[in-house]
Symmetry: C2
Subunit: 695 residues, 2 copies
């Protein structure tokens, strides 16, 4: 594998949100936003921690951003050199996704000449608590340099401040900032060492929430001065920095880990460099947030890119991200599945709170399965009042995603041990949950599921959403398959499935076809405020057939064996023009289904949209004054699904690996590996031909 | 019976809405708003026709206002004498409710002295198509008078113009204006004769939509000049004015009819003249709109006071107005019940359109049971967009009101003939309808009714509304009782009834007790716009326990035998402070229940509020620029119910008339009559004693 480098040149003040996401580094335990090291909280730097949540007052519960140990700022001859304000001749940020290394290089212009400042940033894949940072200064003239490095406790928070009781200090050449979270007093410790081999004067000091060093030295023209920093971040026990190897040693271990990942994950596409680059970049993002530090953890909808969406785990993980790990690193998939098993308690409590049986998983899951989703999740732009939304209580398809993932995990890996470690309970409790949703009319012969929201969130409180009913049936079948339950087998046959009309189109929910059938532009033209919510009771889309995202199409993509190609084609054709794709989960579902029906050209732009979700600026970044941006791991996982299941047409049938290639025209060939039941297979697609080789 | 005169003195330009209602005259076939005879359409005069509806374009379907044959305007010595602009020394409008006669008298001041103009107005109770109007002119000085009378076709319309193809003319001394309705080309004919016995010059002429006469004469000082007008209004065949008796003769017939009504209806209250007056006035209003001209017709929610609420029949008739007629003039009650029997077809079609069985009666019923209720019945004050409302499709309790009324009619009158004339079909089809609403959980033992609106319209799409479920049970029991159906008997026992909590309070619907419990003033204080809708998905009341009107309390009032006094007391106490009484149907329900639990003092102000609904100005008259005022016959019917069933405590038990008096303190005694199974009974209450005498 050649290195793939993602680069941005020049510094635009407004790039900080997009670059924060695009240049993210991370190791699953923590994510470091790709902002510049001299950026303070207004530019939203973050060392975002996996699974550590906090709540302040009535604000949303959200994950912690640890004190930013990466802060570093230069001054030369007493003048601060700092972006975005200082003058520069060249500035470049790049990300080497093969090695997992972030680099930044800036040539600052001073009165006396040029001072080059560069940073190498590594969030160690070998040590979940370790960040490496190497700062390099090179001046083309003699200059008095001061490198100010800091553990900055004034972190960016959306609903904070989450940290309190700060203790800042230094001891034995280690700077530290410790604090505890507001809600549960979880200790957060950041510690830092600096090493350099040139003469310098060092001053260490603290402020209320920070601990810093000023390393002052005289730079000779043309000479490079390097400061090697090791920064540990822990929730709980402090990290023993002295036990670590040298910077280069730790860096080598990190790179080796990344190379190990790419050995299996890397996908070669001959004929389409842009796609190859975007797709592998997508896998880079997924690997930065894969929870390898734990045996039971999951991935938030915005990964580790900040506090957006409360750092909560959505169905995105099960439906969009799981497959990539399942086929490349099953241990990560197991960790994701185990998270749901271990949060069953929260799901049981949630169901009970609604008077329902079994397990109703959290729509926005935090630790222990706590549902962070509010009953008032949207603010009315006209009245500024919170609007009652039903994501938490009516989006009942969430539990089916958990079962779907568990079933896939067992089917693909053959690892039935998760079943005995709680998987059976999940199956049984989710089946119980759906059973308790079933309603039969007096004298009726089928069970209905009423008053739900399907994947398309623009239509609230609908009856017999096709996706929901089909997934409930899937759950009953899975429960029957694993537990032998005859009752669930029978219920699967008794659940009402929306009819297919004469054109082969499945009605998204009861009465959908009666809604106004108008185009997306028409609906958009009715907006009185560009920021108003399209859904809800009175939104512009609510009483039309315009939908937010794949719904029937998601069902057809997720349950491909249950529907014919003709039905898939008809529904793709019907629903695509009616879909706003207002969710990053949408495009890949359409793309996948297009491949399934043999139309990779239609699929291609939707695939690229998914794969480039974090490479392109734009998208919905702000809801009023609230930042809702961040990385899009579900779109990235979706891109992998399209490439592998869609274009390559990979299937496992009777334990055999089979491909049905339908490559986009531009793709001459494609090569990738999968891990199937412990063995690595090398798969090559050349046009319509394919081969699989066990390595 | 002494005459009861309702009077208003002086002319205030803004009185026209309130006076139009308070001084209404009518005979069931038509209602004439109590506006002045010289008022043109901007002051909203109306000759409102029962049961003749029209729709123009996308406007609401609403009843017709016929060309206004009552228009009359005076001039003296070439100067117009016309309110509200001309100078006057005295002006008085009065209504003699005993005789059913409207009178107006104005002393206009002219440069030469005083000209007195008076009008007597009678909407004949003896002839459903006849209006009598006597104009009197008396000048205190010699004056050249011109009385301009007109059939004014430029009528007040809310969503019109409804009339077209006007033909205006005069023939054989009869002036006429004919037109047809827009939608169905129903011919509307207004004809007029004038008689007078003094020398005058008469000019008759027509304009586009009007036909008029100018009667010019020289008035001698102090002498009265009378013009007797007979105006016929018909939808369909023209009326033969020549076959009528003299004005005085027709007037006498009219008065005799009113006296006949009062012979049974009049209620004496000793010790509280205000209550006596208001209560009998309420009965006046009900009698003006009782459809005696038909064997199958009903009463609109705003009676015949205009086009508000589309002239449609709501549950108001069955639940609030029926009883008065049932106990005083059963033939009218039969006509009301027959209307629902004869509109069963519309109810069957409506149910089928929602995929339901049986009869789902119109929420806003027009001819043939057509449901005039729109899916978008409220306009959002913030966006000016129509809001999706659910009155039409979710207020399923409407069909139970029809069965309730039918059952009461048969129980009280013993007239089972209505059953064979379609009543059985109504019972069966309504029971089928509720059966098709029943849902049972998988493994459940009770049937639920989900996703409805109860009487309290501020809470949409709720499950297991206590009122709705209890009334559905009532329907099943009624169906079982009349048809012997064992299935419905069983269903009545299988329907889920909301639990009674430890305090004896019945939860209005599933989850009501979990809503924010805050006071009405608090909810009101959250309004951003005084005109915003309290209900809907996001209204200020929607997520609180504040309700629009009696709901659980309506259930307890309507089904008194099914609940204990303790439960009634507990719910009255709980719900009253949480009730906005935003509907005129609310107060009387609370009042009635207060009497039932022995608290007539609490009941009294609520009773007066109902009885005086049209005697006091104010109330909700405007929704933005749309007039929503009119008379309040349901409140007036409710006042009768409180007086008779509440304060007097009348019950029929095993065919025996029983009273349980609980008079308000101020009431020394009370005397009234009822018609029970063809006999008239005189009932006297003296404090806690009572007697009943068959006449």
């Amino acid at each position: 594998m050649e290195p793939i480098i993602i680069t941005a040149k020049g510094c635009n003040k407004d790039d900080y949100t997009h670059h924060g996401n695009m240049f993210l580094t991370g190791n699953g335990a923590m994510g470091v936003r790709g902002t510049l090291c001299e950026y303070r909280s207004e530019y939203m730097p973050a060392v975002n921690l996996c699974g550590i949540y906090d709540r302040v007052g009535d604000g949303w519960r959200e994950p912690i951003n640890a004190p930013n140990g990466l802060f570093a700022e230069l001054s030369a001859d007493g003048r601060k050199l700092s972006l975005p304000d200082s003058e520069y001749s060249e500035h470049k940020v790049s990300l080497n996704i093969r090695d997992g290394i972030y680099e930044r290089e800036t040539d600052f212009i001073t009165d006396s000449g040029c001072v080059c400042f560069s940073e190498e940033r590594i969030v160690s894949l070998a040590d979940p608590n370790l960040i490496l940072q190497c700062l390099t200064v090179r001046s083309d003239h003699a200059a008095e340099i001061c490198a100010h490095t800091e553990i900055d406790g004034n972190v960016w928070d959306i609903h904070g401040p989450h940290l309190e009781n700060f203790v800042c200090g230094e001891k034995d050449n280690i700077c530290y900032v410790s604090a505890v979270t507001h809600e549960k007093s979880i200790p957060i410790n950041v510690r830092e060492t600096s090493e350099y081999d040139f003469p310098a004067e060092e001053r260490r000091a603290v402020s209320d929430k920070s601990s810093f060093r000023d390393i002052s030295f005289t730079a000779k023209p043309g000479e490079s001065y390097k400061i090697y920093r090791k920064i540990s971040v822990t929730a709980g026990k402090e990290h023993d920095l002295s036990s670590l190897g040298s910077y280069e040693n730790e860096k080598a271990k990190h790179i080796a880990k990344w190379h190990g990942i790419w050995d299996v994950s890397y996908i070669e596409i001959d004929g389409d460099e842009a796609a190859e680059r975007a797709l592998n970049y997508s896998l880079y993002q997924l690997n930065c947030i894969a929870p390898r530090h734990s045996r039971s953890a999951s991935i938030a909808a915005r990964g580790l890119s900040g506090q957006v969406y409360k750092g909560a785990v959505f169905w995105d993980t099960e439906m969009f991200m799981l497959d990539y790990f399942l086929y490349t690193e099953p241990q990560v998939a197991r960790t994701l599945v185990k998270y749901r098993i271990d949060t069953l308690g929260g799901a049981l409590r949630k169901a009970a709170s609604y008077g329902l049986d079994g397990a109703f998983y959290a729509w926005e899951s935090q630790e222990g399965g706590y549902d962070a989703c509010s009953d008032y999740n949207v603010t009315d732009v006209f009245t500024k009042r919170p609007m009652r939304t039903f994501f938490r209580d009516k989006q009942v398809h969430i539990s089916s995603a958990v079962v779907y993932a568990l079933d896939k995990y067992v089917e693909i890996t053959g690892d039935t041990s998760v079943l005995n470690e709680g998987g059976y309970d999940v199956l049984t409790e989710c089946a119980k949950f759906y059973r308790s949703l079933l309603l039969k009319k007096c004298g009726g012969d089928k069970y209905e599921i009423r008053d739900v929201i399907g994947p398309d969130e623009y239509h609230e409180r609908v009856n017999n959403n096709a996706y929901t009913n089909a997934m409930a049936r899937f759950v009953f079948r899975a429960a029957a398959k694993y537990t032998g339950s005859q009752e669930y087998k029978a219920l699967a046959d008794e659940i009402y499935m929306p009819k297919i009309n004469n054109d082969g189109v499945i009605e998204q929910f009861d009465g959908y076809f009666d809604l106004e059938d108008c185009c997306i532009d028409e609906v958009r033209s009715r907006l009185l405020d560009p920021k108003e919510y399209w859904g809800g009771a009175y939104g512009v889309a609510a009483h039309t057939q315009v939908i937010k995202q794949a719904d029937v199409v998601a069902m057809l993509s997720m349950l491909p064996d249950e529907f014919s190609d003709d039905v898939k084609k008809a529904n793709l054709k019907y629903y695509e023009p009616r879909t706003e794709h207002g969710s990053s989960l949408s495009a890949c579902m359409y793309s996948l289904l297009s491949c399934a029906v043999g139309d990779p050209e239609f699929a291609y732009p939707l695939f690229m949209k998914s794969a480039e979700a974090d490479l392109r600026p734009g998208g919905k970044e702000w809801a009023g004054l609230v930042y809702i941006g961040g990385t899009h791991p579900a779109a990235e996982g979706g891109a992998w699904k399209v490439a592998i299941f869609g274009f390559a047409g990979l299937e496992i049938k009777n334990s055999e690996i089979i491909c049905s290639p339908r490559l986009p025209k531009a793709w001459k060939s494609m090569r990738f590996k999968i891990n199937y039941r412990g063995d690595i297979y090398d798969i090559q697609i050349n046009g319509g031909d394919w081969s699989v080789t066990k390595l």
